[in-house]
């Protein structure tokens, strides 16, 4: 009895530590624009959200999607097109972009989950490449130039988002909402089933779970949050371009997740922060043309020697010490 009690107090203690940690991080994020350029922070948050969405299916279901750029770009293009054509408020634009990406996620999902493993990766890659060509030819995407000068507008018709600081807090709110959704999903009974599928799919099937439906739902959720990230990113940079739809982008989000630590809550955030910072630092220096090579090298090092990623390795270290 007392053993059970001590376990439960320990559990509450560790969960209150966790809450404290989340609180501290949020406080840090709130004061961050005092020290760091807000546009850079916003870029970071958008990619972090994108990577978190991706991690939901790679880290927790074990499905490697090589086409997540499609959802980022769809969110971005739909939001960008709506806001530049119609007098809508930004939150409607973002909502529409997210819904479009979610719908696309459903379409890609029902096709891709018909195959497993390596085929899943190839199918998602091929589908997103098809979308790339469609975006290249479609009249509303601006082709090679993309959509430029998307107005940020007034949030709820009240807050002027042209102000970078206001925009930053809005992006932070979007990120926290998206992150909370993923966090909740992972820790729900649904998330437990996803992990069971990742660990042993045949056993999950034999236990009576409709594995395909679980996979599809996780995929759609992931696509929706990726679309949310894309929509928000378009609003931040007032730009939607083909770069977001290119397979390089799909590769980058894989790298962010792998580097940060797949299957960990904060791994994708750390990975995205590292990759985005690296790109920003290198893009103005003499190494600018070497960026893809350096990213490729990081990929290889991660796969060969560093499969748990930064956060995963840290967790191992902490477990060893305590």
């Amino acid at each position: 009895m007392s053993a059970i009690q001590s376990v439960s107090t320990e559990k509450t203690r560790s969960s209150s530590y966790k809450k404290l940690g989340y609180g501290l991080l949020l406080a840090l994020a709130l004061i961050a624009p005092l020290a760091i350029y807000p546009v850079f922070l916003m870029k970071l948050l958008c990619f972090a959200l994108f990577a978190c969405a991706f991690n939901l299916i790679l880290g927790y279901v074990g499905l490697l999607s090589f086409g997540h750029a499609a959802f980022l770009a769809t969110g971005g293009y739909v939001t960008g097109h709506l806001l530049s054509t119609y007098p809508l408020t930004p939150e409607i634009g973002i909502l529409a972009g997210t819904v479009a990406a979610t719908a696309l996620g459903f379409l890609f999902g029902i096709l891709a989950i018909r195959r497993q493993g390596i085929y899943f990766a190839m199918i998602t890659l091929a589908l997103s490449q098809m979308l790339f060509f469609l975006f290249l030819q479609a009249p509303f995407t601006g082709g090679e130039d993309g959509l430029q000068g998307v107005p940020r507008g007034h949030l709820f018709g009240l807050f002027d988002l042209e102000n970078n600081l206001t925009m930053y807090y809005f992006v932070l709110a979007v990120f926290v909402a998206g992150f909370a959704l993923i966090h909740r999903t992972i820790h729900s009974p649904f998330g437990q089933v996803l992990k069971a599928i990742r660990e042993n799919e045949p056993r999950a099937i034999s236990l009576g779970y409709d594995v395909k439906r679980y996979k599809l739902l996780a995929f759609v959720l992931s696509a929706g949050v990726a679309g949310l990230a894309g929509s928000t990113k378009t609003l931040v940079f007032q730009l939607a371009s083909l770069t977001d739809a290119h397979w390089h982008m799909s590769g980058e989000v894989v790298l962010m997740t792998l580097l940060g630590g797949m299957g960990t809550i904060f791994g994708p955030v750390v990975g995205a922060a590292t990759v985005v910072t690296l790109q920003n630092q290198l893009s103005s220096g003499p190494l600018s043309t070497w960026v893809p090579v350096i990213l490729g090298l990081i990929f290889i090092v991660c796969v060969l020697a560093f499969r748990s990623g930064i956060v995963g390795e840290l967790q191992k270290l902490i477990k060893k010490i305590f």
Binding site: L111, Y119, M122, L127, F133, L134, G296, V303, R307
Partner: protein, 295 residues
């Protein structure tokens, strides 16, 4: 001028020829992917980059050493194949015990590095590569004009594809390969050196890609990004055909090339997406692929 279905016959056959050429390239590449996947259980994402390396090896050999096309056609696949052997020996073999997805990720990183380096050195614009003298000019077949080099591409790649098919399906060495695909442990127990077989298989698959690259050099420009877009289409072809059968991979590739060519004639806007559409239809109707076995 004679017309067929409202399309000038010359244009129709011209596009079909182009389609057949594309199909030949798909065949060489998907064949390599299928062989590598069969024994190593990884998808070689660096396949496009290795195809590009083949083309660049030929171009550089011409620029720096003055080596002619025929020497390059032999040397470039050998060289790039040896590079593949080195990659397998130093990196890929560490991953066989891990999840198959890591092989995909590793080769993706390799592709990024190879492609990025060549973009850094040569820029993204293409370098011209002249057709060898022996294969210049063309034949007038009456209903169409057939450039000799294009005919050579089709003949050479089909010969190599069917040669490889014969090697795998009809020879002793091929029977080892097929057995290794089924059960490597048992093969090892029979005293066959499986690791060497695996290394050589990877090298051979890579060499096929490099050979395709040299073939492509005179008709497409030699550019660092020539492989990556092609590879994604080949992935779709592989999903359509399934990687279980060598002949299936070859036939699917040729058929997809022809379908692409026909689309260019009748509805050019869709020519870049038609193979992906076929992939979607196949996934809906026959998820394991046309020649695939349900895993």
């Amino acid at each position: 001028m004679t017309e067929l279905l409202g399309i000038p016959v010359q244009a129709l056959f011209g596009q079909l020829l182009l389609g057949l050429i594309n199909g030949s390239f798909y065949a060489l590449l998907s064949l390599g992917l299928a062989i590598i996947f069969g024994l190593l259980n990884i998808i070689n994402f660096a396949h496009g980059a290795q195809y590009m390396l083949g083309a660049f090896a030929a171009w550089l050999a011409l620029q720096w050493l003055g080596l002619n096309y025929w020497t390059s056609l032999l040397l470039a696949p050998l060289l790039v194949g040896m590079l593949g052997v080195l990659l397998e020996y130093t990196m890929l073999r560490r991953l066989y015990k891990e999840d198959h997805l890591y092989g995909l990720l590793l080769t993706f990183g390799l592709a990024m590095m190879i492609e990025g380096s060549f973009v850094h050195w040569f820029g993204v614009s293409g370098q011209p590569f002249s057709t060898p003298d022996l294969l210049k000019g063309g034949l007038n077949l009456g209903f169409m004009y057939l450039p000799i080099y294009r005919a050579w591409i089709i003949i050479a790649s089909l010969a190599l594809c069917f040669g490889t098919w014969y090697l795998i399906e009809r020879t002793k060495l091929g029977s080892y390969l097929r057995a290794g695909t089924e059960n490597p442990q048992l093969m090892q127990a029979f005293g066959i050196n499986v690791p060497v077989l695996v290394t050589l298989t990877y090298g051979y698959g890579v060499a096929l890609a490099a050979f395709a690259g040299v073939l492509a050099a005179p008709i497409y420009q030699v550019s660092p990004v020539m492989g990556s877009n092609l590879l994604i289409i080949v992935f779709a072809v592989v999903v359509i055909g399934g990687m279980g059968s060598i002949m299936g991979a070859i036939l699917t590739s040729l058929a997809m090339g022809l379908i692409e060519g026909l689309t260019k004639v009748f509805y050019p806007e869709a020519s870049s997406t038609v193979i992906f559409l076929v992939m979607i239809i196949v996934l809906l109707a026959r998820p394991a692929g046309l020649f695939g076995k349900e895993a």
